[in-house]
């Protein structure tokens, strides 16, 4: 006998603050609750809610909050495998596997992101050039769909469904659990070397020369429209410090979610204040030693220690654009970004680059090239700049990340992703009623 689970009406907001919607949400915490969810009403699973786009709510779907499905189901130290429920966080996996010198090789930058979200969005980590994306470390998963029930899915047993689910934006069903591949880590500290750079092109050269053979390499550039300061910044190159033990006690970090991020009623980042912020960051970084050792946790999850940055954007939110630009187009792309920034004067704050390697498939954010990330305060000029960026992506064959940009139009995605139509067709064949929907899937025409 099981009491009837109930739903509640809540307002959910995307992490960037760009989309908010009143939704029905229920929080299953037992398998039978999931299985009892028959019917044809639309639904979508939600984890930590850290997606910048509204991938886990919207389209009048009932939101299945899977954060109660957060248990570790198995851990095999010898085989380097961990089986977890989809609501488990990266932090949980680190806590279980870390003491055995094992970690997930690919992890996005915040520890409370859930495994289900990582799979659905096929996220990447600090070094997608060497480590690939999250899908590469998924051994198998368990998926629930009311039409087909609960099924085990792996590359070998059902490759179509596996690749429809990994990077499938949660539209093929609810991921219940996953078995993930772990990797031995030599130590739990990273030595980070910082090099000053004066422009985007200089950063590109630096990150190209430093990525191979490093645990990670990425750039940070001042993105505020300013004739002399725009583009200057640093390249960070990290290496694991061998022998550094797993820390028994870790410095706590201030948690952030989509609601607490937007606690400030107004954005504190306007053109002048953004310039001040980036100048302060640039100055303080220069004052630091060129090489520092940081705990691996801080290197893996840099946003855990920098959540204040996101809070500064307040309730109006931030806009982020992330694109993989093919190698042969990147120089021109960066020149065009610089030109557009000085012409449109958007609320851009910072730009970052890292190398990417992968094979594009369906609507996954994977490919060979340079991953360029831009953060903006939301202004009219930002919207205008992002529209221009969409056209640049189409013109250069760049891939925009659908999970990072809550306003990305369907037309841009359709023109940029060769696998768009195939993804749509496969999705409709798998789920003719299209039970799993979100604002993102509706906006992109899935």
């Amino acid at each position: 006998m099981l009491s009837t689970p109930a739903s509640e009406t809540v307002e959910l907001v995307s992490f960037d603050g760009g989309v908010a919607e009143i939704c029905e949400r229920w929080r299953p915490d037992r398998y039978r609750m999931i299985e009892s969810s028959a019917g044809v009403s639309p639904r979508i699973a939600r984890g930590g809610g850290y997606s910048y786009a509204a991938a886990s709510f919207g389209a009048r779907s009932t939101v299945w909050d899977m954060t109660q499905f957060d248990r570790v189901l198995g851990f095999d130290e010898t085989a380097k495998r961990i089986e977890v429920q989809a609501g488990s966080t990266l932090e949980t996996i680190l806590a279980v596997a870390g003491p055995k010198n094992l970690i997930l090789p690919v992890q996005p930058g915040y520890p409370r992101i859930t495994v289900g979200g990582c799979i659905a969005a096929n996220v990447h980590g600090k070094n997608p050039f060497l480590e690939g994306t999250f899908t590469d470390q998924v051994e198998s998963l368990t998926l629930f769909h009311p039409r087909i029930g609960t099924v085990d899915v792996s590359r070998g047993s059902s490759p179509e469904l596996f690749y429809l689910t990994c990077g499938g934006l949660g539209l093929s069903g609810v991921i219940l659990s996953a078995t993930l591949r772990l990797q031995t880590i030599a130590g739990f500290a990273a030595r980070v070397e910082r090099t000053e750079i004066r422009s985007l092109s200089e950063g590109l050269q630096a990150v190209r020369s430093m990525t191979e053979g490093s645990a990670f390499a990425y750039t940070w550039h001042d993105g505020v429209p300013h004739r002399s300061r725009f583009g200057r910044g640093f390249v960070y190159r990290g290496e694991i410090v061998p022998g550094a033990p797993y820390p028994e006690v870790r410095r706590p970090y201030r948690r952030i979610d989509a609601v607490s991020r937007g606690a400030l009623p107004l954005s504190l980042l306007h053109r002048s204040t953004a310039g001040l912020l980036t100048r302060c960051f640039w100055t303080t970084e220069r004052l630091k030693s060129g090489t520092v050792n940081v705990p691996l946790f801080d290197a893996l999850f840099p946003f855990a220690r920098r959540s204040e940055y996101f809070r500064l954007f307040g309730r109006p939110g931030l806009a982020e654009a992330q694109v993989i630009v093919p190698d042969h187009q990147i120089e021109g792309f960066l020149d065009e970004i610089e030109r557009q920034v000085h012409r449109e004067l958007p609320g851009s704050v910072m730009i970052s680059m890292k190398l990417f390697r992968g094979t594009p498939r369906l609507v996954c954010f994977e490919g060979n090239g340079v991953c360029v990330t831009l953060d903006f305060a939301r202004t009219d000029a930002t919207s205008s700049f992002l529209r221009a960026l969409d056209e640049m992506c189409v013109a250069t064959g760049a891939l925009p990340n659908v999970i990072k940009d809550s306003r990305l139009p369907m037309d841009t995605v359709r023109r940029c992703y060769p696998g768009y139509q195939e993804f749509r067709e496969r999705l409709h064949a798998h789920d003719p009623e299209r039970l799993f929907r979100s604002e993102l899937s509706q906006r992109l025409g899935f």
């Binding site: 009491s3 009837t4 689970p5 229920w26 915490d29 248990r71 570790v72 189901l73 429920q85 279980v96």
Partner: protein, 244 residues
């Protein structure tokens, strides 16, 4: 030390499992779905390095599970506590519930607790220690137009725990009874807006903190005590107009 938790897989039961495992107690966890129990067991063992034995049984069925419970408890360190965060409601429980459904509700909310206490009380009495913790409901404060059998079963449970406390007054386990208000669980989502829902994690922490204290009957959160008193003393001509 080990504790038995009946109704362990969700809500308050689950929070109690984590709290007690974090304090390095071995656990016997009992719930109806083996998949939930296996998940919980592996998680507790991996995170807290404790021994956990799971017993999957549907306590709404008439057949008991005494042998399984005895066998499970025998595998662990001496039993020091019985916790009963178990409960079920039916949405159609408004005075017209059929006999079979009413019996099942009574078994889950009341008789399963009675059966389990009967199994282990002799050993707890002979060891002159341990704690038995029951969880009632503010719904039992006064009969109302919904959850008729559920409220009756929880009131029966409250009376039973009063008796149990008397039985164990001179020697034996401490008997505690929490009258629980709205908890923030998957089953209570969206059900009330006027009075804030309490965190099951906080209740679990409170239970663990006061486990060795003879606290008798406690309302959680505390403000439900005056609310329940007010409900009991509300004149019938007013009470009959209330809808809640």
């Amino acid at each position: 030390m080990s504790h038995l938790i009946l109704g362990a897989s969700g809500g308050l039961g689950r929070e109690l499992c984590y709290r007690f495992a974090a304090e390095r107690n071995d656990l016997v966890i009992v719930a109806s779905d083996d998949r939930d129990l296996k998940a919980l067991k592996s998680d507790l063992e991996l995170r807290f390095d404790v021994r956990v034995i799971s017993v999957a049984t549907d306590v709404s069925e008439a057949s008991g599970c005494a042998d399984e419970l005895h066998a499970a408890v025998a595998q662990l360190t001496p039993l020091r506590g019985l916790l009963f965060p178990i409960g079920a409601v039916l949405s159609r429980d408004a005075g017209t519930l059929d006999r079979e459904s009413a019996e099942r509700l009574m078994r889950v909310n009341f008789l399963s607790v009675v059966d389990t206490v009967a199994l282990f009380l002799p050993s707890l009495l002979s060891s002159n220690g341990g704690t038995i913790v029951g969880f009632g409901s503010i719904a039992a404060a006064r009969g109302r137009n919904g959850n008729a059998v559920y409220s009756a079963s929880k009131r029966a449970l409250e009376s039973y725990f009063e008796s149990l406390r008397h039985v164990c007054a001179k020697a034996g386990p401490i008997v505690q009874f929490y009258v629980v208000g709205y908890l923030d669980t998957s089953l209570s989502a969206g059900r009330t807006k006027l009075i804030p829902k309490a965190s099951p994690r906080r209740l679990a922490a409170r239970v663990a903190r006061d486990l060795n204290r003879d606290i008798g009957r406690v309302y959680f959160p505390w403000y439900w005590r005056p609310v329940c008193s007010a409900l009991r003393w509300t004149p019938w001509f007013l009470y009959k107009r209330m809808r809640f």
